[in-house]
Amino acid sequence: MVAETSKNISVTIRVWRQPAADQPGKFVDYPAKDLNPNMSLLEMLDVVNDQLERIGEDPIAFAHDCREGICGTCSLVIDGKPHGPHHGVASCQTYMRSFEDNSIITIEPFRAKSFPIVKDLISDRSAFDAIQQAGGFISIRTGSAQDANATPIPKDIADLAMDAAQCIGCGACVAACKNASAMLFVSAKVSQLGLLPQGQPERDTRVLNMVAKMDELGFGNCTNQYECSAACPKLISHDFIARMNRDYLAASFRTAFKPKPAASGGGGA
């Protein structure tokens, strides 16, 4: 990352403007002049929007919340890469000092059929919520907090589960994938619980249901090109996709051959 600097810069932003989901969109250029290089890209958009409002134009709609890189709300493709030029950094943590003076910065929404554009730079990523609701949880009454060592978990497993749990569900993986595949997201959500003892009872149904929901929602298929992990602001590894593939196949076989309880129609005649 470029060091902090005090020299103000001016850029042109080429922004995707689309009034509504069912209307066509186009790129529109806006000048953004005399910017403090240490302001974030979103703050730059705030400044441009301020100017647009002053002249009575519709401000650029973009999604944001924490602006700390942990909520996964900001969802911009900046110069052809989801979340902009840096590795492992979200759009909101991208600063103007990362761009050259007088450059043109192209800003687009995350695009995928399953992420329909709501307006301008905002896409609807509620498909991820639907996948989570299909199995990204554990059905257990947690009660009050247990003793810390009641359920021993090896450090490397805990670390790996935490790596998967880093996923903020922003959708950059889908945006970056040429197939609009959600496998990095789903594999992170499957793995963060599947690695831990508390996640075991529902391990098979979780992976089967989440993958089925992912397919049903029209996400594409992984071609193992790893654009997803390269664009991920939380550096989720595509190793989790391999793990999910293994889990899914094993769960498919286990579920097919496991005896069914009498209550659900199985058992002896």
């Binding site: 080429r14 995707w16 969109g25 790129f27 493709v77 110069d79 052809g80 890469k81 192209t106 687009e108 695009r111 995928a112 059929k113 399953s114 554009i117 970056a176 040429k178 197939n179 609009a180 595949s181 496998m183 089967l208 993958v211 089925a212 992912m214 397919d215 029209g218 996400f219 594409g220 298929n221 992984c222 071609t223 193992n224 090109q225 790893y226 654009e227 992990s229 390269a230 664009a231 590894s237 595509h238 190793d239 996709i241 391999a242 793990r243 999910m244 593939n245 293994r246 889990d247 899914y248 196949l249 498919s252 076989f253 579920t255 097919a256």
Partner: protein, 268 residues
């Protein structure tokens, strides 16, 4: 969904089918190459080997059917997955797009696959069915009388004195045509590129790849693909360039020298 449903109609299931059929086909193409490299040994070797394969009867058909089913499933999975992925990306493309990690081999998979498919059709027409290059097809050439017993891995492939098709001459004569040889070289180069991504990818799909050995896997796969490329280059390449010359007494040697071979070939 049922197991069959999961395998044939889910994203991961179809990828698994793609990986497993790919693995079978990779095994086949490497075995096929090793068998074909016998062209550089005396004619008894490849002719005895070809005779043995032809003589397998039902077992040969079993292998052929397994391979055809694998090719069909591999293509079906590829087409189905690609169509779904194209639909998932949607009609609105990015104004600016940067590749972040994808290798060039992975980005060429679809068209290398399509060209290799057409090559397979031509290859079958050429050396298996005799539809293309009919005048040098094995049934049009004088038959070969085995000079010695042909044995590989302790199995007798053909006995001395046995009269077999002269596959050796068919291959030599076929590859003396520059257009044919170049097509073989281009197609097998594309197949090597296809395998460069495909073989590595199948480990990921089955779930047997992770960061701790991915660099090693990449090296092994690259090495195998380079060997495969060289092996396939050298057969038509050496024949076309005249580095490999047909053995004395074969139909190929006589035709190359301009001697008519309509009469049964003379043997030592």
């Amino acid at each position: 969904m049922s197991l069959i449903g999961n395998l044939f109609f889910s994203s991961i299931g179809r990828k698994f089918i793609m990986a497993i059929t790919g693995l079978v086909l990779v095994g086949f193409v490497f075995g096929h190459l090793v068998g074909n490299l016998q062209i550089f040994l005396p004619p008894d070797h490849i002719n005895g080997y070809a005779h043995f394969l032809q003589d397998l009867g039902p077992a040969l058909w079993l292998v052929r059917i397994v391979l055809l089913v694998c090719v069909a499933l591999h293509i079906w999975a590829a087409v189905a997955l690609t169509l779904e992925s194209k639909a998932a990306r949607g009609p609105n493309q990015y104004g600016v797009h940067k590749w972040l990690h994808a290798t060039w081999a992975s980005r060429a998979m679809r068209w290398t696959g399509v060209i290799v498919f057409f090559f397979i059709l031509y290859h079958l027409a050429h050396f298996t069915l005799g539809v293309a290059g009919q005048e040098t097809f094995k049934t049009q050439l004088p038959e070969w009388t085995m000079q010695h017993d042909a044995k590989e891995l302790g199995i007798t492939l053909a006995k001395k004195g046995e009269v077999v098709h002269d596959v050796y001459s068919m291959v030599f004569l076929g590859f003396q045509n520059p257009v044919v040889s170049l097509f073989y070289i281009i197609a097998t180069t594309l197949l090597s590129i296809h395998l460069l991504h495909g073989v590595e990818s199948l480990f990921q799909t089955i779930g047997w790849r992770n960061g701790s050995w991915s660099a090693f896997l990449r090296k092994v796969v690259t090495g195998l693909c380079i060997l495969y490329f060289l092996g396939n280059l050298v057969i038509p390449g050496a024949i076309l360039a005249g580095i490999a010359k047909p053995a004395e007494g074969t139909a190929a040697a006589k035709i190359t020298a301009g001697t008519p071979v309509t009469a049964p070939a003379a043997h030592n």
